[in-house]
Structure formats: structure tokens, C-alpha cells
Amino acid sequence: MFPMLAIMVTVTGYPLLSTIRLSFTDASLVGNAPMSWVGLENYIYAFTDPDFRDAFFRSLYFAFVSVGVEVILGVLVALLLNQEFFGRPFVRALVVLPWALPTIVNAMMWRLIFNPEFGSWNALLTQLHLIDAYRSWLGDPATVMNMVILADVWKNYPLVTLIVLAALQIIPPELYQAAAIDGAGAWRQFWKITFPEILGPLSVALMLRMIDAFKVFDIIYVMTRGGPADATKTVSFYVYQESFSYLRAGSGAAYAVLVGLVCGILIGLYLMILRRQEHS
């Protein structure tokens, strides 16, 4: 127990405390400038910074929409893959593929798909007569965030599918047979049998994805670098920029602590869900 605890304190506790300490200073990321205590100045600056507030709401939007779609899509695909059909093992393996891709590769791929001149997204929509001409998807602030979300959903919904599929497989088929005899349709079977059974695992998947999505950085960095006109600049991108582009480690740490607090709340909810499941 003790060695484990020691490792935890070293690799998690120390950096965390050091970040919190840093957030009360005007430290520079590197270089020879002396560092001094500035109290709450960095936090006051963060709260009065309209750009940070915008970035915060952008992260929330990203988290809610992408996780929302991932959950719905993930459950639907899991239900499909739980049915018997020819080639099911192959399709099950295929579904995992997007999730196994590195985010950077995924982001580069979607950049090409959304390309305004030769992107296949434009080709698809034009051939379906949904749009008249090729257009810029990542250069338009009205669409760009949803396009990044689409790329994120494609990559991450398989996690939800995998977790839900595992839960589906342990539901005894007799339950469905009995329900069918009692005259319950597919819709009723889903809400009365399936949904309660998968709710636990699903809420775990939902919280894990939420925590991850709120911190979104890499896919943004590769696809849009926060543009156009800051339309995809999320809080994590903000932290990155403050620390590494502007070298203000102190203020960057303050922003990071604020992001950490939000994740802390989400983690608290996650633990509550876990505890409730243990009880039931």
C-alpha cells in the first residue's frame, strides 16, 4: 500500500500542488526572470477576461454536444451489434478502429475530409444535392465547432458502444422472451428491460467522456488552431497559449486550476454514480 501511495503522491500530488502554487505567482515558463507572489491577481484577471469566459462556454458546448451525440450513437450501434447477423465479429472489430486511431491522425484525416476544394464531405453533400457548391467548413465560424465535434464523435462513440455492448451481453435473453410473450413490443422492451440494465455502465461512459471532452485540446490544435476568429478556442487551448506561446506559467497555471476545478466537479459526479451503482 505505501509504495503505491508514494508513487501517487510523487507523480500526481506534487505536480498538482506545484501548479496551484504557481498560479499565485507571475512565474515565466522559462528564462531568467525572477518570480514573485501576486496573490489572486491571476484569478481576478481570468474572471475579468471576456475571452476566457467565451472559451469556457465553448468547451462546455463541445463537451455537451459531442458527448450527447456519442451516447446516442454509441447505444444505437451497440444495440445493432448485439443482434445476430452474418459477419458480426468483423463489424465488431471494425467499430473499434476509429477509437484506436491516434487523435492527431484522426484530426488530420478530418481536415482533409472537410477541405473546401477537394474534401469528400463537400463531394458527398453536393452529390446528395444538399448544397449547391463546395464551401469552407472549417473557415466558417457558424459551422466550424460542429465540424470538429463530428470528427470527435466519429472517433469516440466506439468507447460508448464497447461499454454498452458488454452490458447488453449479460442481460438474460429469457427476460426478452418473457416480455414478448406478455406482448411487449421492441420499444417497450428497450425502456423496461434494456435501458435499466445498461444505465449504470452508460453513465460511467458518459462521465468519462465528459471529463475528457471538457479538456479537449489536441483535435482543436490540429484541425483549427482555435480559429477562425477564435471560434474553436477552448479553455485547454487557452491554457496552452497562455503558458507556451505567451510564456506566462503563473497565469497559465491559474487557468489550468480553473479547468481542473470543473473536471473535479465532473469527477465528483462520476464517483457518486459509481457509489450508487455499488449500492443497487
Binding site: E117, A229, D230, F244, S245
Partner: protein
């Protein structure tokens, strides 16, 4: 048998690891060098230069790393925090010396540069490495943005000569559009990135505007700087500029232009030979260039200083070897040999017929443009200033704000800089 297999496997593994491990003999010095992989010298050029250097200097090996321009600054900064195992040679942009010098990132190499070279290299190139009266490296890429045009398209539109002023560019673009020769005649790199500021600065120079007044107060919302912004916006509203420019970087501009989807483009030196290369371009042989236009009554041409330099990070353990490498790849013979994608920093190279061969118009344009190169502000918080301008300029280009409002806001933001 079993033991034999194990033995063979072990020997094979040892051999493979021995062969694969990229470590020089113990006496060798290994330099870690950081370059970018877009515009100017190609990766192949840099590898060839480096191989030649290694052959001439036994005992020094150079490990090359290439990153996108957008990652270069942060990579240099992050490596500083890594202690002694960082880079020995880094490529850096003309806009960073103030910040780097303030934080002590680079070694002062003033005493290493021979006095005789001061007069032999262009002042615009020296300004890339000079801050606070000291030299923080050696200029390597002497670059500015030129106006590229498609000869064939202009001929078909009945246009006799390329534009000399930005208003003429507008007029010619309109003719090309009206005659249906090309849907969007002009393409730029207006993504939310430094490339946008380079295009903007070129126009600011043409309109004789400024980023800051003599007292150091930001003046983006006045005179020439505001007119530059309005020009960009008008050209977009009139349908003369490709609207996708708002998500393009330099390589996108090159692709669109090389594909025959634009008649005019603003881009760096490297596009000239690439867009005229049949392997890279559908419009090879049709590509010409001029210095970026001027404004009637104010300027005859315009240019932005987009030069880059090589420096030695202050935590390098091999400064002498690093300087040897820098001296070699910035030397006149090397510059003259690789003058197709990036032009020499050396003045006399421009009168050397072997350098000019096959790219006479590039050399002619360079002679005008290099003398005019307009600097972006030399300030410690340049990165942040640039981010402010990128955001506000894009708001105008995306129709979210008027030029006056957005640039006024940029001035307010800039005065909030800490």
C-alpha cells in the same frame, strides 16, 4: 536445436539494435537541429546541405528535426525548459528575437560574426537577428511576399501588364472574374495564423501605415493600417478574393494557385520554382511574379520582412560545433547552390549569373522587394499582439465586425497587454 534458435535470435536482435541505434562513435559530437517543413528550403535541400557539412567535418553529426512553422516557437520555448538535452541549432523567425533575448533563450554570437560580413549581407537579413544592439544568430532565409500571377490568364483577359498598385490589382481581378476566366482571381493565406499578419503587414506597408506610433501607442485603427484592413475586406466582399483564403496557410495558397484556380497570389519566394515545376503544378511555365504592389501617390511596391535565422539556444553544450554548422549552411557558396527555393542573404549573389539562371524575374523582383522590407513590430509580447490582430482581422473578414470597430477593439486589447 532450441538453444541454437535462441542463440540465433539473440545475435540477430543484438545486431538489429546495434544497427538501428542512431548514435555516433563516442568521440563524435551530435548536434540537434530544429527546422521547419514549409516554405523556403525544402527538407531535401537541408538534408543535402547537412550531409555535405558532415563530410567536410568528420566528428560532427547533425540530427535534423522538422516541424510545422506553427509549432516552431513553442517547440523552441518548451525545449528550453528541458535543461541541457535540448537543441543546439534552432531556426527562428524575425519576430521572436526580442522575446528570446529578454528571456535569455539564445546565445549572444556578436563576437563570432566576422566584421567583414556586416556589409556583405543585407540589412533586412541582419534585422532578423539583431536586438538590443547584439546579434543572436545568423540570418539564413531572406524572404518576403511577392505577387504571383498567371501569365496565361492575364493574356486571355487582355491584360497587358501585371498590376503595379493594389487598386490595379482589384481592377484586373474584376476583369478576370467578369470574363469568367477564374471564379476567384486572388488567393491569400488568411487563416488565424502568423501568415495572415504577413499579408496584412504587406498592405500596411503599401498604405504607409504603422502598427505603433512614435510614442509606442497602437494605431491599427488609423490611416494606412485601417486602409489595409479595408482593402482586404473589400476584395473579399467583391468576390475577387477566394473566400476559402480565411482558412488557408501558405501551402494551401500554393496548391490553389498551382491548380489554376487563381490568377493572383501573395506568397513567399519558394512558390516561384515550385509553381513552375510540372511535377508540382498544372500551371508550370505560366507563373510569373512581381514585387507586391504599391499605392498610387504613396508607394511603388510593398514588402514584409519574413526572414528567418539560425541561433544557438543558451543551454546548448556544443556551441562551437553548432556555430560551425550555422556558418557553413549560411555561407555564400551554400546559399548560391540552393537558391531555387530561398534566395541568398549575400548582396553580391544577386549579380551572380549562375544564381539568376532560369529565375531572372525572381532575382529582379527580389532586388526591389528586399530593399523595401517592412518589419513587423519588434516587441517582447509579439506573439500575443499577433494573436490579438489575427482574431480581430478575422472578425472583419468573416463579417462579424466592421473594419473600424474591430481594429479599434484590437487597439483596446493591445493596451491590455501585460
Amino acid at each position: 536445436m532450441n538453444r541454437f534458435v535462441k542463440l540465433a535470435f539473440g545475435v540477430g536482435l543484438a545486431l538489429t539494435l546495434g544497427v538501428l541505434a542512431p548514435r555516433p562513435a563516442s568521440a563524435d559530437v551530435l548536434l540537434n537541429a530544429l527546422f521547419m517543413k514549409q516554405a523556403a528550403y525544402s527538407e531535401d535541400d537541408i538534408r543535402n546541405m547537412t550531409t555535405a557539412f558532415e563530410q567536410a567535418n568528420p566528428g560532427i553529426k547533425v540530427n535534423l528535426e522538422f516541424v510545422a512553422y506553427e509549432a516552431l516557437h513553442d517547440k523552441i520555448v518548451a525545449a528550453q525548459g528541458a535543461g541541457g538535452s535540448g537543441y543546439d541549432v534552432v531556426l527562428y523567425d524575425v519576430i521572436w528575437p526580442a522575446e528570446f533575448a529578454k528571456h535569455g533563450f539564445l546565445m549572444d554570437v556578436t563576437s563570432r560574426v566576422p566584421d567583414s560580413e556586416t556589409a556583405q549581407v543585407f540589412d533586412g537579413a541582419w534585422s532578423t537577428v539583431t536586438y538590443d544592439g547584439k546579434r543572436w544568430g545568423m540570418p539564413w532565409i531572406l524572404d518576403t511576399k511577392y505577387l504571383f500571377y498567371n501569365k496565361d490568364m492575364l493574356k486571355r483577359a487582355g491584360i497587358a501588364a501585371p498590376p503595379k498598385t493594389w487598386d490595379e490589382l482589384t481592377a484586373q481581378a474584376k476583369i478576370l472574374k467578369d470574363k469568367g476566366i477564374v471564379q476567384y482571381p486572388i488567393v491569400w493565406s488568411w487563416a488565424q495564423a502568423e501568415a495572415l499578419i504577413c499579408d496584412y503587414a504587406t498592405l500596411v506597408a503599401a498604405y504607409k501605415g504603422a502598427f505603433f506610433d512614435a510614442g509606442g501607442k497602437p494605431v491599427f485603427d488609423q490611416d494606412g493600417a485601417l486602409k489595409a484592413m479595408q482593402y482586404m475586406n473589400d476584395s473579399l466582399r467583391d468576390g475577387l478574393t477566394n473566400p476559402n483564403s480565411r482558412e488557408y496557410l501558405e501551402e494551401d495558397v500554393r496548391r490553389v494557385f498551382s491548380n489554376g484556380d487563381a490568377a493572383f497570389a501573395l506568397n513567399w519566394t519558394y512558390m516561384y520554382n515550385m509553381a513552375n515545376d510540372p511535377k508540382e503544378s498544372k500551371v508550370a511555365g505560366q507563373v510569373e511574379l512581381e514585387p507586391a504592389p504599391g499605392v498610387a501617390g504613396l508607394t511603388t511596391a510593398s514588402a514584409v520582412n519574413g526572414s528567418m535565422a539560425l541561433g544557438i539556444p543558451s543551454n546548448s553544450q556544443h556551441a562551437d560545433e553548432a556555430w560551425k554548422y550555422i556558418s557553413y549552411i549560411t555561407s555564400q557558396p551554400v546559399h548560391n547552390k540552393y537558391a531555387q527555393l530561398s534566395l541568398p542573404i549575400w548582396k553580391s549573389s544577386y549579380d551572380d549569373p549562375t544564381v539568376a539562371k532560369g529565375q531572372e524575374s525572381l532575382i529582379a523582383a527580389a532586388k526591389t522587394s528586399i530593399a523595401l522590407m517592412f518589419p513587423r513590430p519588434s516587441t517582447v509580447s509579439y506573439q500575443e499582439l499577433s494573436a490579438i490582430l489575427q482574431k480581430r482581422i478575422q472578425q472583419v473578414l468573416l463579417g462579424q465586425a466592421t473594419a473600424e470597430d474591430a481594429m479599434h477593439q484590437a487597439v483596446e486589447d493591445a493596451s491590455r497587454l501585460r
